[in-house]
């Protein structure tokens, strides 16, 4: 490489004009930088938007319940209270009990951690795979692209829910992580396709070409130039995938297709429906309502977050809110990422 041949020459060339005083960068500075860049500012922006604010608060509540809550609140067991207690009767079981004397609130609370794990694993699996396949296909083009595109085409063409049901029966997954992945087993495909088409545009951006011209390696271009651009989109879709995981897992539990070894609101629904006769007016509607509310608020939090999130990653908004100056006003904010709408 050039620099090795003409080390000194290079040095000279760059020693022009006003000599720069030594620029020190301490580790603390860097850490502070990272903190400002990745936590403080996104947080600030997120907080500025009502949707993210509410969404994040809701999720925070779930995380709190899923971690601290399970510590403080007793685990559900049979006969821990009187059977079939209505809600708001006693402090012992505020939301009532099932017909085998399990505390409904305890059931709801102790289903949270598994659900969060499921969401995370499903969301991460779907988005990471989609980003990987989408960017590589889009950026590399050619045969790689054709193969990957066909692959995702096929994955996309298999009907999601029926496929998941069959798979659920085949492998009887018992761990929340596996269930999360199972549910998003072909969810990534649509996402990969749309990421691919975005990458097709991004790779034509001149800054990508500039990086190529500098001889930057392909993985580095993908990670530094391509992926940050689709990040808002990816995160929005992470939240969407998470919501899909919530909906699908609860649905499958409700239908009794997934093994009951993992606590889940769907199992509560199923119990309320098939055993407590909640639908038949046995006065046990509360057993149905509690998990429903748990599901709906979680989904609500995720949607709100998804809707508000693209702003967080838009550097324009970020700097504006972080109080830095902006010299240009003419450009509009990037149009919001297209919303892939699938239940």
């Amino acid at each position: 490489m050039k620099h090795t041949e003409s080390e000194t020459g290079t040095e000279e060339e760059f020693s022009f004009g006003a000599a720069q005083s030594e620029v020190e960068v301490s580790t603390a500075d860097r850490l502070r930088d990272i903190y400002r860049e990745f936590i403080y500012k996104p947080g600030l922006v997120a907080w500025e938007d009502n949707r993210t604010r509410i969404g994040a608060s809701i999720l925070a509540v779930y995380v709190f319940i899923g971690t601290v809550g399970t510590w403080f609140y007793r685990a559900p067991t049979t006969n821990q209270s009187e059977r079939s207690l209505q809600p708001f009767q006693t402090w012992e079981a505020p939301l009532g009990t099932t017909s085998s004397g399990e505390d409904v609130l305890a059931m709801a609370i102790h289903a949270t951690p598994e659900m969060l794990i499921m969401i995370l694993s499903g969301g991460i699996f779907a988005t990471v795979l989609a980003v990987l396949i989408g960017t590589v296909a889009g950026y590399k083009g050619g045969t790689t692209d054709r193969v990957l595109t066909t692959f995702s085409d096929v994955a996309m063409s298999i009907p999601g829910l029926p496929l998941i049901m069959v798979l659920a029966v085949v492998i009887s997954p018992e761990r929340a992580t596996v269930i999360g992945i199972l549910i998003t087993i072909n969810y990534w495909a649509g996402l990969a396709r749309s990421i691919r088409s975005q990458v097709l545009t991004i790779r034509e951006h001149s800054y990508v070409e500039a990086s190529r011209t500098m001889g930057v390696s392909t993985p580095r271009i993908i990670f530094k130039d391509v992926i940050p651009n689709i990040m808002p989109y990816v995160l929005v879709n992470f939240a969407n995938a998470a919501r899909y995981v919530v909906f699908a897992s609860v649905g499958l539990y409700y239908l009794g297709i997934l093994p009951t070894s993992v606590a889940n609101w769907g199992i509560q629904l199923n119990n309320a429906y098939s055993r407590a006769g909640a639908l038949s007016g046995g006065g046990t509607m509360y057993q149905l309502v509690v998990p429903m509310i748990a599901i709906m608020f979680l989904a609500l939090g995720l949607i709100l977050l998804a809707q508000g999130m693209d702003r967080v990653f838009n550097p324009r908004v970020r700097t504006r809110l972080a109080g830095e100056s902006e010299s240009e006003t003419e450009d509009d904010e990037d149009a919001a990422a297209p919303t892939e709408v699938m239940t």
Binding site: V154, L161, R243, L255, I303
Partner: protein, 332 residues
């Protein structure tokens, strides 16, 4: 006809084939084959154990090496034969012919209605961006999207059917109503489909509305809308031909693919409403390990998905003059 058409068709066929093969393999991997399920069922029916063994024995011969099954399945598929349902002892095709129209009816109607609402509502919100109406509508949209359709379905059943008896909780039609083109029949079918359709529409309309809102706001900011106003065009024309048309276009493929997607979702929906469409039979087939039926329905839903994407790709050029068929108009 032309290159793109052929290529795209080839890809659709390839996709179908791979999907069929894959699902074929998958379904065979389900633990507990049809015989085990049959045994379980006979036990429950109280058939005496020695006879159960005899029955199982006599059925054992039916299974063959998997490649033979695959070959036979593929070749009979090509001749239009989907095999016979193990559980129902009926040709799969006749079950599907009976069930599919109902599912398609529910899902297509639901999807059309929800898009119609989303388009109008989304456009109106966009026009009133920033107003209270916008805030309330957007909030409502989000709220509606946070309810899974089956939860709403259950609620509907509990409240509207069981509690108040306004709508039927199950069936495609009332007992005794026979299929015909009479008003009574159609009305009855619609009446029974009302809740399934409503639960799809209500839970899915929100996100589409927000998408439409976003698109419309974007279009409203375009120069050509401003120019159109300056040219003195009527507000109506601008709303329809300018804003509407351009905002709807990006949703076109979404519309077709959502139909396909919803067909898959019918498995849960029809189970809740005891609506004997393909989703319902899919579930039955799964429970009873009825491979042929499962494959058949899988195939139908897959074909629907592949077809809807295929149609979306091929027709996008027709609805959007900017894209000639064959341009980079892939649905996803």
């Amino acid at each position: 006809m032309n290159n793109y058409f052929i290529k795209r068709t080839g890809r659709a066929v390839l996709t179908l084939w791979v999907t069929v093969t894959l699902t074929f393999g998958l379904i065979r991997a389900i633990p507990g084959g049809p015989l085990e399920m049959l045994r379980a069922r006979l036990v429950r029916q109280g058939v005496d154990p020695t006879r159960i063994d005899a029955i199982i024995q006599s059925r054992q011969e039916e299974s063959q090496p998997i490649y033979v099954e695959y070959y036979e399945y593929m070749s009979s598929l090509l001749s239009g034969n989907l095999g016979e349902s193990f559980y129902f002892r009926e040709p799969v095709s006749s079950i599907i012919t009976d069930a599919l129209p109902w599912t398609v009816f529910v899902m297509v109607t639901a999807t059309i209605i929800l898009f119609a609402i989303a388009i109008v509502w989304g456009a109106i919100i966009a026009y009133k961006e920033g107003s209270t109406f916008d805030t309330v509508s957007s909030g409502l949209s989000i709220l509606m999207s946070s309810v899974p359709f089956y939860v709403l379905g259950i609620l509907f059943v509990v409240v509207l059917s069981y509690r108040f008896g306004i709508f039927p909780a199950r069936y495609r039609t009332s007992p005794g109503v026979t299929a015909s083109l009479s008003i009574q029949f159609v009305g009855n079918a619609l009446y029974h489909a009302a809740l399934p359709i409503a639960s799809i529409v209500i839970t899915q309309v929100g996100l589409q509305t927000l998408a439409m809102r976003g698109n419309s706001i974007q279009v409203l900011g375009e120069d050509f809308v401003r120019v159109a106003r300056l040219r003195g065009l009527s507000d109506r024309r601008i709303a329809v031909r300018y804003v509407g048309r351009n905002a709807i276009l990006p949703m076109y493929t979404g519309f077709l693919t959502l139909i396909g997607f919803n067909l898959g979702g019918s498995v849960i929906l029809e189970e809740i409403f005891t609506y004997t469409g393909i989703g319902y039979y899919m579930f039955e087939a799964l429970i009873n390990r009825d491979y042929a039926l499962m494959m058949g329905i899988f195939l139908v839903i897959t074909t629907a998905l592949v077809l809807s994407v295929y149609i979306a790709d091929l027709t996008y050029g027709l609805v959007d003059p900017r894209v000639k068929s064959g341009d980079s108009s892939e649905a996803y």
